[in-house]
C-alpha cells in the first residue's frame, strides 16, 4: 500500500525486470515481456569518471518515511547495503512532509552527495528539485513511490512494487492450488490500491473472481461474520484472498467456523498471519519485500558511480510480489523478528 499505484501504463514489460532483479520468487513473471515505448534511460552520467574509492562515497536516501514498521525495514536494507559496499548512507525520513524532503534534497546536493535515492509521495513538489540534482550530475533513483515520474526526473530507475502485478502473482498461486472460485475480500471502500490487488487477481486467476468489501479492520468481529455469511451463501467458493493481513485472518476464522477447507491467501505480514502460514492454515501471503527498496537503490547508485552500470533498461525494478508460504514461513518469521522482512 505504500507504493505508488500508478504503474499500470508500463505493466506489460515489467515482468521481465522483476525476474532480472532477482529479488522475487519470480514465479508470477511468466508473461512474455513486450516491447514497450518506455524511453531509454538518460543516465546523465558525469562527463569525467571519478576514480573515487568506495569509502569516500556518500549516498542520501530521502523518503517520506514515518519510521514505522514498514520503513524501518527499508532503512535496514539501505544500511545493510551501505555496510556491504563500504559506503556512507545518510537516512532522511520526511515523515510524509514533502517540504522537508525538498529541503533535504537541496541540502544533499549542496553537500555534494554522490547519489540520491528518493521516494515521490508528492511528485509536484519533488520532481523539480530532483531534476536539478540530475542536472548537477548526481545519479538519482526513485523508490517505493514514483513509478510515473522517474523518467521525467531522469532517474536511473525506480525500485518498488506494483499492486496489480502483486495481484497477478496471487492469481497464479490460486491457479496452482486448483481453486475455481475465489473471493477477493477488501477492508476499505474506495482504496484504489486494494482494488488494484483484486483486479490483478482477476486478470491471472483462471476461475471466477468475486470482489467484495467485507467489513473494516476496525471491527474484526463484523469482518469475520460478514465473510462467514458470504461463504455460507456460496458453497462454490474455494479460495479467499484477503488484501490485508487482518482481513486474511478474519477469513481464516470464518472458514474454520464453517468447517470449510479453503485456499486462503493474504497480503503483507503480521506475526499472527505468519504463524498461520507456518501452521499451514493460510497458503501464502504476498510480501512487497521493502528491504530491497532500501538495499537495491544503494547498490545501483554504487555500481553507477563506480562502474557506470545501469540496470532495468529504463523500466522500473519490482521488489514484489514475493511470497511467504509454508516452505519459508519459519525463516521469514525469524527474519521478520530481525527486522529485515
Amino acid at each position: 500500500m505504500k507504493t505508488s499505484k500508478k504503474l499500470l501504463a508500463i505493466l506489460p514489460a515489467i515482468a521481465l525486470v522483476a525476474a532480472s532483479c532477482g529479488g522475487s520468487d519470480g514465479d508470477s513473471s511468466s508473461e512474455a515481456p513486450a516491447e514497450t515505448d518506455a524511453a531509454p534511460v538518460e543516465t546523465d552520467a558525469p562527463e569525467e569518471v571519478d576514480q573515487t574509492q568506495a569509502g569516500d562515497l556518500t549516498f542520501h536516501m530521502i523518503t517520506h518515511s514515518d519510521d514505522g514498521p514498514f520503513w524501518s525495514v527499508v532503512q535496514r536494507g539501505a544500511d545493510a547495503a551501505a555496510e556491504d559496499l563500504g559506503v556512507t548512507l545518510v537516512w532522511k525520513p520526511g515523515v510524509n512532509d514533502a517540504q522537508v524532503m525538498v529541503q533535504d534534497i537541496e541540502a544533499a546536493v549542496a553537500e555534494g552527495t554522490d547519489g540520491i535515492a528518493a521516494s515521490l509521495p508528492d511528485p509536484d513538489a519533488l520532481v523539480g528539485p530532483l531534476q536539478a540534482a540530475v542536472g548537477e550530475g548526481i545519479p538519482v533513483i526513485t523508490l517505493n513511490s514514483g513509478a510515473n515520474d522517474y523518467q521525467d526526473i531522469g532517474a536511473l530507475t525506480h525500485v518498488g512494487q506494483s499492486e496489480d502485478v502483486a495481484g497477478n502473482g496471487a492469481g497464479e498461486r490460486f491457479n496452482d492450488a486448483g481453486a475455481t472460485k475465489v473471493l477477493c475480500a477488501f477492508q476499505e471502500q474506495g482504496n484504489v490500491g486494494l482494488e488494484e490487488r483484486c483486479n490483478g487477481l482477476a486478470e491471472t486467476f483462471g476461475g471466477e473472481t468475486v470482489i467484495e468489501f467485507m467489513g473494516l479492520d476496525a471491527d474484526t468481529t463484523e469482518q469475520q461474520n460478514t465473510i462467514n455469511a458470504f461463504l455460507a451463501a456460496d458453497p462454490d467458493i474455494d479460495g479467499v484472498l484477503g488484501v490485508g493481513p487482518v482481513i486474511t485472518m478474519s477469513a481464516l476464522r470464518a472458514a474454520q467456523d464453517l468447517g470449510r477447507e479453503l485456499t486462503i491467501g493474504g497480503f503483507d505480514m503480521t506475526p499472527d498471519l505468519l504463524g498461520a502460514i507456518e501452521a499451514g492454515d493460510v497458503a501464502f501471503t504476498v510480501d512487497q519485500q521493502q528491504y530491497l527498496q532500501g538495499y537495491m537503490p544503494v547498490l545501483l547508485m554504487y555500481l553507477n558511480v563506480t562502474n557506470q552500470n545501469t540496470l532495468g533498461g529504463g523500466l522500473p525494478i519490482l521488489t514484489g510480489p514475493g511470497f511467504v508460504t509454508t516452505d519459508n514461513a519459519t525463516a521469514v518469521i525469524e527474519l521478520s523478528a530481525a527486522g529485515t522482512r
Partner: protein
Amino acid sequence: MNEYDSPDTATEAAPIGETSTDTVVAASAAGGDERLAYRSVFQRLFVRPEVGGLIGAAGIWIFFWAASGTFGTVGQTFTWLDTAATLGIMAVAVSMLMIGGEFDLSSGAMTGAMGMLIIYLVKETGELGGLGFPMLIAIPLSLVVALCIGYLNGFMVERTGQPSFIITLGTFFALIGLKLGLSKRFVGQIQIGRTDEASDFDFFRPIFAAEWARNDHPFELRDFFYISIFAAGIIIVLLAVCELWFQRADERKPIGLVDFIVGLGLGIAAAIALHLTDGVGVNAAIAVLMAVAVFLGMYGWVRWRYEPIENRGSVALDERMRKFLGLGFGLVVLGAVVAVLIDSSSTHEFFFPFTTQGIRVILLLAFTTAGMALIAMASQAALSSSPATKGAVTSVLALAIAVVAALTFIDSEAAKFRASLFSVLLFGAVIVFVWGFVVSRFVERRVKSASADHLGGRMLILGIVSIFIGLAFRMMFITEAELLAEVPPAKTSIRLFWFVAFTATMMWILARTRFGSWTFAVGGNKEAARQVGVPAARTKTQLFMLVSVAAWFVGLLVAFRINSIQSNAGDGQEFFFIIAAVVGGTLLTGGYGTAFGGAIGACIMSMPLAGISAARWNTDWRFLIIGVILLLAVVSNKYLRNRAEAIRR
C-alpha cells in the same frame, strides 16, 4: 408513570427532571384522581422508546430472510448475533451515557486500546516487548486504567463545562496516538499478539471466549422441548393479553375452564399428529383441528374469567366502513389474481432493476399492503361502534390474512415460504379471527386493576421468555436427522451470553435503582436535577466510567477471541455505537431512551452487512442502507415520542 405496581410499566422512559409536573400528576393519580383517563398496558408498551427499533429490526430480519437463502439459518443467525454482541455491549453502555446527556467519542478507540493493553501486559518479555503478567493481574490492572480514562473524561467535561463531544474527541485522538506510538515504541509493530502467552490463559479462556458448536451437541428430544416450550410461551402470551385486556367477571364460569382444557388437549393432540404423520391432506385436517383448538382454548379461557357483554348490538356497518372493507378486501384479492396471472418464473427485464418477477412482487406487495391498510382503517373506525360490528370487521381482517397466506402458498417455490410463512400467516389469521370473536363478546377493561396488571404483566414476561428459551433449544442443539442432512456447522459463543446479561443488568439499573433515576434526571435537565439534590457531576462521571468499563470488557473479549490486536482496532466504531443507541430510541439530547433499545439497535446495525453478503448483493451499498436506517429511525422515533407524550399527558 408509576401509577401501577406493574413490572412492565415504562418507568425506564420517564425522565424525571424533564417532567417533574408528570410526577406531581402521577402522585395525585395515586390518590385517585378521576380526571386521568385509564391507559392500558398496551398503550403504555406501544409508546416505549424502543418500539420503533423493534419493528425496524423485525422488518430488516424479514427482508433479508426473504431475500437470501441462508440468512435465516441457525448458523447465520449466530453470525449476526455475534457481531451484535460486542457492538451491543458498547451500544447499551453508550445509550446509558446518552440518556445521561453526554457523548463519548473515545469509546471506539478505547475498545482497541484496552485489548492492546491487556495483551501487552500478558505478553512474554522478550525482544518484542511485553510484561509477562498473568491474566489474574492484567485483567484488574487494565480495568483500573479503563476506570481512570472514564473518570478523566467525566472530570474534564464537568470541570471545563465544555461539550463532551469536544472533550472526548480529544481523548479519541489521544488514544489513537497512544496506541500507535506505544505499540511501535514497545513492540516494534502496529499489531500486538498474543493473548495466549498469558500463563493462566487456559483458565480465563472459557469465561471470555467459550464456544458452542451446535453440531457437537446432538439432542434427540430437542424438538419436543423446543415446540412445547415455544408453544407454551405463545399460549401464555395470548392469555396474558386477555388478562390485561378484559374486565374480570364477578363470578367465574367453570364451564369455560373445561373448554380451555379441551382446547389445550386438542392442540397437543394435533401437534403430536403433525409430528407422526405426513401428507397434504392430513396436514390440512390437522390445521383445521388446530384452529378449533385455538378457538376453544381462547374462548374457554375468556369465558371462564371475564365479564360477558350483555347487549352486543347488531352488525351496523356505516358507509365509510363498508367502503374501506370492500375496497380493502378487493385489493387483497386483486393482488392474489395478479400473482396467479403473471408468470413468476420469467426473468424478462424491462429496465433495471425491474424484471417480470420484480414487477410481480411489487404489484403483489402494493395491492396486499394497501388492502390490509384499508381493512385496518376500517377496524380503527369500528372501535367506537357496537361490539358485534367490531367482531364482523375483525373477521374480514382474518379472512384477508388467510387469503394472503394462501397466496404465499401457491406463489412460492421456496420451502421456507410455503412452510414457514404460510403457517405463520394462517396461524395469525386464526388468532385474529378468534380475537375478533371474543372481543365482541366480552367487556374491555377501562379501569385500572393492580392485580390484573400485575398478573398479566408477569405472564407476558414469562411467555416472551419461554418463546426465547424454546428458540434457544432449537438453535443450540442438533438432531440426528439434521446431522444426516449435513446442516452447515453453527457456532456461538459466551459473548452472546455476556451481551444478554449486560443488557439485562443495565435495564434493571435504569428502571429500578436510584442511579438509574439520576441518569434520566441529569440527562433531562441537569440544573433541575441538581436543585432537587441529584449529584449531577458524580452521576455523569460514573456514566463515562461505565462506558470505559464496557470498552474494557469488549477489548477483553476481542483479545481472547482473535489473540492479537492491530492498533486501529475499534477506531471509528463509536459512530456505530451512537447510531445503534439512536436507532434504539435514545435521544441525542439526553433524558430519554432505554438500555434495551441500544441492544435492539446493535442487532439492526449488525444485520445489514451479514444480510447483504448472504443475499449476494454488492456490499458497496451497505453504508447507504445504514444511513437510510438511521434517518428512518430518527423520523419514526420522533413520531413515536410525540405520541408517547400525547398519551402520557
